[in-house]
Subunit: 432 residues, 2 copies
Amino acid sequence: MSVRIALLGCGVVGSAVAKRLIEHSDELTERVGDRLELVGVAVRDVSKPRPESGVPAELFTDDAEELVTRADVVVELMGGIEPARTLLLKAIEHGASVVTANKALLGEDGPSLYAAAAEANVDFSFEAAVAGAIPLIRPLRISLAGDDVHRVMGIVNGTTNFILDKMDRTGADFADVLAEAQELGYAEADPTADVEGYDARAKAAILASLAFHTRVSSAEVYCEGITAITADDIRAARKAGLVIKLLAICERVTDEEGSAAISARVHPALLPRSHPLASVREAFNAVFVETQLAGELMFYGRGAGGEPTASAVLGDLVQAARNRLVGRAGPGELAYAAFPIQTIGAAYTAYFIRLRVKDRPGVLAAVSNVFAAQGVSIESMRQNKDRTDPELASLHLVTHRAQEGALAGTVKQLQDLDEVDSVDSVMRVEGL
Amino acid sequence: MSVRIALLGCGVVGSAVAKRLIEHSDELTERVGDRLELVGVAVRDVSKPRPESGVPAELFTDDAEELVTRADVVVELMGGIEPARTLLLKAIEHGASVVTANKALLGEDGPSLYAAAAEANVDFSFEAAVAGAIPLIRPLRISLAGDDVHRVMGIVNGTTNFILDKMDRTGADFADVLAEAQELGYAEADPTADVEGYDARAKAAILASLAFHTRVSSAEVYCEGITAITADDIRAARKAGLVIKLLAICERVTDEEGSAAISARVHPALLPRSHPLASVREAFNAVFVETQLAGELMFYGRGAGGEPTASAVLGDLVQAARNRLVGRAGPGELAYAAFPIQTIGAAYTAYFIRLRVKDRPGVLAAVSNVFAAQGVSIESMRQNKDRTDPELASLHLVTHRAQEGALAGTVKQLQDLDEVDSVDSVMRVEGL
């Protein structure tokens, strides 16, 4: 008897998984305790040659619906919501375990899939869906199951980290660096999902669900991308000893009534250069996890790419196959807590604000009064001559943690202030 | 029905585990799917008050042998080889799953315990035995099961890292910093196990076993501690842009016949200051894992302490309890590979060598000739006036990777050389 494996999709990751299954068959047999037999690979166009995968031509099929009914473990690497969802539900219905790297699907509808898998007593695993090769899902689901997670904060999108890192190191503009990233294959022809933060948002939804035992969907995660970030922002951050990163942040917070709630958000944020996430370069990913007992943990590695993602998929696959052989699935998801999700207006963060003011006495007092009136406390302030207009001064402020709502009110009042020429940038600061 | 838990030992970690079991009982019930019932805590002296653990007095017992026969999961936190081994074997024989943080025992005799547990179809887990709170064992056992680990290199002993970090930052001598670490509770009254590298050696044995699917015991791991490291060594390293860390290194290597073998060793090593392990401060732990598919991964966190270690123990405990409820154990160890263990003499490393030579023409040529004759290639060399003797110069050399045997031969010939006054220090360099 062997364990029958069906692959859905044969792109960069699918090819790497297939190649490994074929070339390392004996070694995988040792690790599983039985042979992993690749019974089919579903693709859209079976006539397209895929020599890099090493898959014999007769294993390709365009009938994914049929394929999932004759496998013990279905590995879904096609991405997107449909037909992936329908196929996975069908696979589960037929008693197959599922391994997937599909963050978009899990972000949108993970909980119903987890529930279907639990009902059918099959494994549903997705280590590759967040932070590629980095073991993060299993530590959250299992290793920290006896602890309480307070916060998960990380760089979970390689494309945007590559762009921001390059902007930081060269001083170049967003558009130029994006074009370069596209040329190098770090960004797709249509970069929307990455640069608008949608990819990171789906991952934040998955992480928040696991960390807080609560169903969080992508739509419930606040999301801002990096398209508005300018070379000026980067320069100002650098001067202040800070660096801009696109962060996914999932926190357990206490709302105004003192009840537990969850804040889940994706947005660019300034970090001190001494913060461990600040030194994450190029397309690498890194995730900080803060818990009650363990304290601070960090996980670092490659968040994308064929082989790194295949590593995570294969780990899940070996585990699912071993579970099949002993006739039962591993533990499923735990969504017992059902914390409410906080709106972004209620979130507390520190801010970095750049504004241009009239260069005359009394300006600092007027500006400070606006902050004081809104209850936003200033942590530090730096004033310089404006580089273009001799009548103006540039003012860089860092606030203490304040509620988004109060900060928005402050910014509005600053804009109305006679002494203020323009509010040029408002960015969140983390890790202070 | 509940899951009956027995605790062996109630020190810092045991108290933290007991406290959590008692105070977070409802939450743990949600996570497990059933109640975890603490049925007893074995201690040497039942009359000693332990209010910090929150354990009711009637649960303490000095009859550990009896206790292990009436539990579903036995959590061993007493440490040391005996009676821990006998008690765990008895627990397994009675059908209990085991959670342990006992690296000394696992380093000495892990494989026979894993085998006994597999035979009895019970869980045997030990996330807390290496790098405390950092999820590392489960990623190696499961997440990377479809990948091939090439190398595991890390800082796995907090005490020695605290001492070396302090020496690096203050320039103080080993003895002074050790005394301070003892005062602060970072080092024990008898610091032998930490400073001689024995604790790290046991962890290296465990990591090598898991990473390479091969039985490696502590006795097979080469081990050098940090007691010989002087303030001079630290100063010279600093000047060269390097930092000294005590590293546990487990590598898959190719021996002279071209066969696969394993190198497992613990020793101080110089790292470039830009290396991620170089910035691991105080008593923190961090482990680098390099694999064929995933590339480089890093795990960082607290390697010791009551609560961090309890976090790892509780994760194992929740998992073991969930497995009990569905009536089967998780996958056991895989020791199918049986690679031979390389002796230290055959290992390849780069070296940093400090020597004092006569300050006269021709010395560099004579020294270089010795290296050339042994086939050891010099990567860089720096000559300075000696600080104490005007007739001497100090010479700092970094070699390319060379075999330990050849290097030892080189050092011996250097000592015999007329031009050489003294060879002051020979240290390995990693991460170049």
